[in-house]
Symmetry: C2
């Protein structure tokens, strides 16, 4: 097990070489370590920073990290090889270090591989799904092979023609009684599995989501999960035809037709070897359907065993964790942008003094709301994670509150990926041209967040699910509402605050707005109900506004989460004031973007909003100014994690940029070969 002893942050060991950054750090009104411990440590804190530091040190101590050029200089074959090498080395090293706790092991592997652990889907979705949906007998067979990496698997759900709408997946598994097996096919081009990570080159097994037909192809039984081999375990070749099945020994010969490959280039490799898969008349034994929830007997009769909502467990847990991931990505982007802004100078006063760009109000208007939102997202995630722990813990599920967890996690995933994508692009712009280099560390983050707006549920679809839950809740008007519930305020009759006196008044304003918007749309939906239009039609027709209502609810959730954070900080004298200032920034920034709502609903006047954004907000920027660098230092990133020339802790930005440029392999030829060939054959046709 990992030693949990706190060895302090990494940067204590290196000097601050840049005088500007040193001054910034000295100007802080609080101790950065107190902030880090407050935010990211403590008995139930998900982030457990002290263990994380220990793990980080262990991961970076391994010599493999110095054996290759920065990843942006590798071609796709070299890149893939490095990632696979590192991933296996990481697995072995985690074993050697005896890191057995699942969460810490995931962290270790992720850090070890620079965020590019090739078997991420294997160790999370694949194994988790086996643990959840396989029968005891299946677990006994499959899990040891998977845990020892003899089987490397992925989760094959998305198809070329179908993403969010699972009901329409086309891959089929037809029961064949004569051979007691399923015959797998992708009857159309659009049924091709497309996008699953690690499918292109790495996996030898997949968990295949397919439409089950049993006892024959005229009887659809809905989506089921199948355990399917696609590559030979020894040669790693795609299974071509008749081969021995090496796992399920009852069936010594299976006919398989597998076409598998990598899809075309995604943005800058970030996503792993996403692949496509076509199966033609692939036969698997009957007991390779995962049978915890349902099974098919020898006669081909389909039996349900358990609540199919168990299926959602893995998906929900993944979605919750994504909210932490997005907050961490945004924290990386803003750490880089703030540190760079405290080093970069541009423009000058009439007296000829060059200005640090962090001193410009326009730059602060980019960065400070981003810092405040990052803290807000960390708190929202922790609040969501608490909710998850109450409602969904392994096999223990409170079914009556599952809908709420689904609604909050869907909405927060959509909201935080969308906002973080936007902010990370603003951080890119805040770093000027240098932000456009891969070596800035920001563009890659921006690309990952952009992808996050789509994967694990398109944001527009997710917001609608949140809205559907809210409309149902308000129409039910549940008197026995749990007062801890995130929707309790929807039933409150407390009036809106007449003026903003304390922080709770902001929360109340947002709650009133959320409540009023929801009531109004709910009434409209009920009034529109008529024999000529179905509820579905009415919902679709009002979907733009429904998404807006869902966002208003999530904004309220996030603001309240940050509010709880401020209250927690009250116990820390030096932090309390800073958290209050961050709260003001987040509240006013969010409010000004939604000003029309607050004004129309008479919660604020247009003049009040104008005063808040024109005077209060820049005033908060000023107050926070001495603490900006320390507020991002508090996120406690190791320089290796940031992988950024601009965001280095020591501020040696220009040295790093030149060093990275000189490493560019292209610069090894003084004259690029194409020019040699042109100069030698000036009249060639090229």
């Amino acid at each position: 097990m990992v030693d949990t002893k706190d060895q302090g942050p990494y940067y204590r060991i290196s000097d601050t070489k840049n005088a500007d950054l040193l001054r910034e750090r000295q100007s802080a009104t609080f101790d950065v370590e107190e902030l880090t411990q407050f935010m990211f440590a403590g008995p139930n804190n998900y982030f457990n920073v002290n263990i994380r530091r220990q793990i980080t040190r262990q991961a970076y101590a391994y010599p493999i990290h110095k054996t290759h050029l920065p990843l942006e200089y590798l071609d796709s074959d070299e890149y893939y090889s490095v990632v696979i090498r590192k991933s296996f080395a990481g697995v072995k090293e985690a074993e050697r270090l005896n890191i057995t706790n699942k969460k810490y092991r995931d962290w270790f592997l992720n850090i070890f591989c620079g965020g590019k652990f090739a078997f991420q889907l294997h160790t999370s979705m694949f194994i988790h799904t086996l643990e959840t949906l396989a029968s005891d007998e299946q677990k006994e067979k499959f899990l040891p092979l998977a845990r020892s990496f003899q089987i490397i698997g992925t989760y094959a759900q998305t198809e070329l023609g179908h993403g969010s709408n699972l009901q329409r997946l086309e891959t089929e598994a037809v029961f064949d009684r004569t051979t007691d097996s399923f015959i797998l096919n992708m009857p159309t081009l659009t049924a091709t599995k497309f996008w699953p990570g690690a499918l292109g080159q790495s996996s030898n097994y997949v968990l295949l989501m397919a439409q089950l037909y049993a006892p024959d192809r005229h009887h659809p039984c809905g989506l089921q999960m199948f355990f399917v081999q696609i590559r030979d375990l020894k040669t790693h070749l795609p299974l071509p035809g008749k081969i021995a099945c090496s796992v399920w020994l009852d069936y010594s010969e299976l006919f398989l037709g597998v076409e598998v490959g990598e899809i075309s280039t995604r943005f800058f490799h970030e996503a792993g070897d996403n692949g496509y898969l076509r199966l033609t008349n692939v036969r698997i034994p009957r007991n390779q359907m995962l049978t915890k929830l349902a099974y098919v007997d020898e006669q081909g009769t389909f039996h349900r065993l358990a609540d199919p909502r168990l299926l959602y467990g893995a998906m929900l847990a993944t979605r919750v964790n994504l909210c932490a991931f997005f907050a961490l990505l945004l924290a990386r982007a803003v750490t880089i942008a703030v540190r760079y802004s405290a080093v970069r100078r541009q423009g000058q006063t009439p007296s000829g003094k060059e200005t640090l760009i962090i001193d410009y109000p326009l730059q602060q208007d980019k960065l400070v709301p981003c810092i405040a939102s990052t803290y807000a997202f960390f708190y929202s995630f922790m609040k969501l994670e608490n909710l998850r722990a109450q409602i969904l813990d392994g096999d223990t599920i409170l079914f009556d509150r599952l809908a709420e967890l689904h609604a909050v996690s869907s909405g927060l995933k959509a909201y935080s990926s969308g906002i973080a994508e936007r902010f990370s692009q603003i951080c890119r712009v805040a770093c000027g041209g240098h932000g456009y280099l891969v070596a800035s560390g920001i563009k890659p983050v921006n690309n990952m967040l952009d992808a996050g707006c789509t994967y694990e549920g398109d944001n527009a679809v997710l917001f609608q699910q949140t809205a559907r839950f809210l409309v149902k809740a308000i129409q039910k008007d549940d008197d026995e509402m749990n007062i801890d519930s995130s929707i309790a305020y929807l039933f409150s009759t407390k009036p809106a605050p007449a003026a903003i006196v304390d922080l709770d008044d902001y929360c109340r304003l947002f709650e009133c707005r959320s409540q009023m918007l929801l009531k109004s749309i709910s009434n409209r939906l009920m009034e529109s109900s008529s024999p000529s239009s179905t509820p579905h039609d009415i919902f679709v027709k009002n979907s733009i506004e429904l998404v807006h209502v869902a966002k208003a609810y999530i904004e309220t959730f996030v603001l309240r989460a940050l509010y709880d954070g401020v209250r927690k900080a009250l116990g820390h004298n030096s932090l309390a004031l800073v958290f209050e200032q961050l709260f003001h920034v987040f509240a006013i920034h969010t409010l000004r973007n939604q000003a029309a709502d607050f004004i129309r609903l008479k919660l604020l006047t247009a003049e009040q909003v104008y005063q808040l954004e024109t005077y209060s907000l820049p005033d908060m920027y000023n107050r926070l100014r001495p603490n900006l660098v320390t507020l991002v230092d508090g996120f406690d990133f190791h320089d290796n994690e940031l992988n950024s020339c601009l965001g280095r802790y020591d501020g040696q930005v220009y040295e790093a940029l030149m060093e990275r440029a000189r490493l560019n392999p292209t610069n090894q030829h003084k004259v690029h070969p194409i020019w040699t060939s042109i100069r030698q054959n000036p009249t060639s046709k090229l």
Copy 2:
């Protein structure tokens, strides 16, 4: 010369294979060719679509385009070689076809090279600057060499430590009377030239922006442009030490110390071989300073010859053209997203029918404002281009209106790149996961637009320049204002419209808002003036609001430009109504994002804004629905230009995606070499 005969659009020659797209096209209420001719043809139309079609056909007829894999599959060396080969082949082919008109030649080369013509900066900035800033004698020497591509040059301005603030550039040219030459140096690391396109591998000359010191290093004379060789013309080797200067024969030996290379990876190669350059004690003859505006005589005395504002001509022309470029990029993104949305199905009605995603209001709320904005940006560019032609035409410059051209072009560049970046990401999201493939054609566009927010002037800096102009203008209160001026309305005393009756009322609302915001900030600036704070301090302090005021002015400019377009369309019965609908969408969409202004200034009530966005806007989406595909077809892109599996004219999206995936070179090995090595040495340490 190119044959200008109209051969009609490309797609007439291919069938529409996709029934959905065919139906979309049949549902249009106007003829697509009429739209294209209306928007992009006509005697003074910048886009001259009929010649463009001719050029496009000629460019794609050349066989080189089939000699390589899609560019995303090439490693950086192969990629660069293909780009250089194509660029030279394109130059030769343009010569063979006798395309001599500069604009058409640029188009041809750009299309021929798939937007990646390697010598873009050479044929534009480099040659243009020589034409503008070189003396007659210098032109006679340099231009023939440049035009024949013996010299290939770029424009070296940006430094590692300095971008927008030219005054602070550190590269220096010190006059040395004893040798009648300048000694060039980069005295610091941050003085390194960094970012210039085509500098890394391709250019053998640069136009170097440097601080002149003459007669000696104690006498700064400001920024001047120097003509500097960096690579040998025969071997293409960076000039190492003493070598013969092959251009300026008066000086047979020059001491040169050049370090040149490519900077680290930018996002996906889009930007060409951006480079860095360090010069150490490089000596160039006195007459390699460009001397149209100023020169240094033999004694080292500095003489001004002409208005230094001539320097801005090239920069302004570039900025104006960028506005066309951004509009075209956005048009590409939205063409792809709209066509894909008319092919892709997702979700279903309770009756089990799958829905085309273009039929969802939420999807329309993404796409239709984007279509409307694209048309608005085309019209704004054309309006700006007219202004440019009036004010700045080669050496003829109306100096008294130059400030207005500077203000409008700065603001429109900033506004259109920012909005287009945003919309292109929305288009990416509108295409779901597939939009994340390079082969979608959208992510590359999004990346180019993101870069456009920074290059040729950081958007925040540009908006401030627009604001500075506006404040000056309103404080001068010019009675003799040209009524054609884009700021004439600022002096109007016409009251705001009491209700929105016709389209002009929208324009008047925006004009009133712009005027009121400007007057208010202008008053504030004057009131804040005090002995203790300089005008600079006051401007910086109010910069957030000043940028807002500049945006309001540009929004008004864009809306008015679109209004003029609607009026032009009145002559085309079938188009008139559609353009009116687009105007409504753009006006309401823009207005809802700025609602707080309109409400606070009492130009609209909150309820009016709510009605507009909740009812009028979706109503317009419905009316435009039959024309959405045809509205993007009207942009007349060739499939090769879009380079998109999702946006193909024929709608064969899934076939294209699979074909592209199968082309991935990784799929040539059935087993990736790293797996062979792992399987053969399972116990190796990797």
